[in-house]
Amino acid sequence: MLAEIVISGSGGQGVLVIGRLIAEAGFLEGQEVVWSPSYSAEKRGGTVSCMVTISTEKVGSLMITRPTIGIAMNHAAAIKLEPALKKDGWLLVNQAENGYQPARKDIHFLTVSANQLALELGSESTANIVALGALLSIHPVVSLDGVIKAMAQLFGSKILEMNKQALIKGSKSVKTKDEKI
């Protein structure tokens, strides 16, 4: 198995945390993992990205140029991520109904209203975890259990419970127009 995941969004959207949780969960499940912050020169506009490779074999390149999975926490990120994706790759976009529409037909496309769902739980700050839950329900690169274990390690007890709920809520929420699923 080789999953090359790029997560992208704007500062404050918890992009690095998503990456960190996937990496930690993969690690706990005995996979080879690499987490890297994005190297793009575009520091403008507060874009934040990170890359995670999960593999059964030793990982070579630290950087991912053609991801198999892209998580876009906003439209701008989706526009950047879509053309880079590998054929048959997965693009998850955080948005409300009728937002971003991918141009490519050779990728899988999912959406999640992560901010909306997180707000229903009490705070938009868990939108990143909702999005992660959504991805994992369709494409389990790591298990939900693994992520919960990772969260227990990384988060303080105060926010742990809310984040667990966010993960579960996200995992039950995926909207897709993708016939392949």
Binding site: V33, S36, A41, G60, S61, L62, M63, T65
Partner: protein, 354 residues
Amino acid sequence: MSKKVLMVGNVAIAEGAVLAGCQAYFGYPITPQNEILEHLSKRLPELGRVFLQTESELAAISMVIGAGATGVRAMTSTSSPGFSLQQEGISYMAGAQIPGVIVNVMRGGPGLGNIGGAQGDYFQAVKGGGHGDYRIINLAPASVQEMMDLTMLAFELADKYRNPTFILVDGFLGQAMEPVIIRDAVTKFPAKPWAITGAKGRPKNLLDSFEMNPVNYPSRVKKLLDKYEIIRRNEVRFEGLLLEDAEIVVVAYGSASRSAMSAVKLARTDGIKAGLLRPITLFPFPEKALRELSLRIQAFLVAELSGGQMIEDVRLAVGLDCEVDLVNRYAGVPLPAEEILESLRGIALKQRKN
């Protein structure tokens, strides 16, 4: 049982230093190595060891001199612009034979450049950088695990040869996170009868590079040069991947070697017999291994994050009869595996035509 954890490269260097018994760290903030300074600002005082944020990299390297002279294991870390400032002290350390570890998490240059990872300080680190006739052992980790392991080794070699030792790594590895097996802490340290510990019950110890009598100076420098020869003979380290039947060999270190590793594997699925030689020590350079390969291989591809620096050493090692190509990125930009693969395809095509 040894513990395995996910760790950021820079933190692995810091923890490697702790495990190696580093008693004193001196540093000045600069991206992309700040995690080393920040981590040690907490760790070392907890252990009753010395941490000091200095007024400059000049002060930091001078403090490594002072600390190393007292016989304790000492370290500083910096990134390219700060490394330039430290060349002064490094030359003094080499001259006075004071051990110490200097970490350079390289970024884009020249000048202020940018904070992306790069390998543009190769010449400066490997060939000298400071003034005078000296050499520095250069260790080049290519994974977070190696950042810990080679940092530990750096302290050992610094003591063994009474010489400064570099960890030369690019910012991409410094910022990356990978699983690391935490090694056992070093408990045995070499005796240092030459150290500054107070002239009690023994003749006084002097540590300097200065020689007032010009007649004595050449023999003093000769001793250093002899030492570097021994290092050349004993301390070459490299790793080979799929070299046995390789027809094209990529030479790369640091994060470029990671991209190269991916590229070589992809090339193999394309039917191209590619291999990888990864220098772990940049000085001493694995010139003999390259030379031997050059007797049966016609093409080398150097992959590096600079305008082309290590390639000069590869050319020197393999001679004029071999083709040595360059695939590179510079100015703080990473080198994708696909780029290396393209170059390998190009070379393979040329070989088939010939």
